[in-house]
Symmetry: C2
Subunit: 164 residues, 2 copies
């Protein structure tokens, strides 16, 4: 764990504060979860989450503004509004699952049910973890920070796979 150290946020360009700015509020992840479960309409979010109307209204607006949800009128019933995940919102699924798995593992006593599985073979997904470029599982001790410049020089020969 000693190796895992970086300058704090004033210096580093760190994505965490930006992520928290968009998703750090109390209901944001629960709304996202509902959206992943197919909830699309205001009243359905309201019922699913037990949240106050004005808070929901405010959060949905913020999530739309952040580009995580998109807001559009239904074609068939134009007073109805659909909130749908954008690609940017979909891309939060690993983070949400990682949080959820952590909650299940450490906070929730019972094994979770239902279990999220691979649709192709029906097997449970692997716990979300940190993996090397070649797929090996990494522990916190296996990690280190490198300057981008240094890194790009080092891999000048082999093509650098897109990271982050």
């Amino acid at each position: 764990m000693e190796k895992l150290r970086e300058p704090l946020c004033e210096i580093a360009q760190c994505g965490l504060p930006f992520a928290l700015e968009a998703m750090g509020e109390r209901w944001s992840f629960m709304i996202l979860r509902a959206a992943f479960n197919g909830v699309r309409h205001f009243e359905d979010f309201l019922e699913a989450l037990g949240i106050a109307r004005n808070i929901l209204s405010n959060r949905l607006s913020r999530l739309v503004e952040a580009g995580i949800l998109k807001r559009e009128h239904c074609a068939d019933d134009r007073r109805r509004i659909e909130y749908r995940l954008t690609p940017k919102g979909m891309d939060l699924l690993p983070a949400m699952l990682a949080l959820r798995q952590w909650g299940e593992k450490w906070q929730l006593g019972v094994p979770a049910n239902p279990v999220l599985c691979d649709a192709r073979d029906g097997m449970p997904i692997r716990p979300i973890g940190i993996t090397a470029h070649d797929g090996r599982a990494l522990s916190p001790d296996d990690l280190t920070w490198r300057e981008r410049a240094e890194l790009e020089a080092a891999v000048a020969f082999e093509p650098l796979r897109k990271v982050l």
Copy 2:
């Protein structure tokens, strides 16, 4: 994405609300990040985060209470207190990195620096994602929910790897 649906939290035993209960507050992830970067003492958190003393005090207490940090007096200087990550706290690293990578990818304009790398070969880590039991990358469309009972019956022959 249609396949990815589950009963909402009243019915399902979902770990997400539990995770958010512990980590959902505004400064929690930033404190965790500092802890991963080796910050251990009250005054150092204070300086690193620019947070008010009373809020920091409150958050540290909560994180200790949640078992994410442990609080102990230094052996050499017993007025000093060290806050250190517990295994439970360490286990939040994938979730934090996933959030951070998302923030870097979607919110932060510039490529992040420094880059988190595998210490063994110096290559950048793979973006955190969802993988099947055999390591294949999965997209949201590849996911489905299965009842635990059904699943355990189905894999009665092959040993079910520990999940979550």
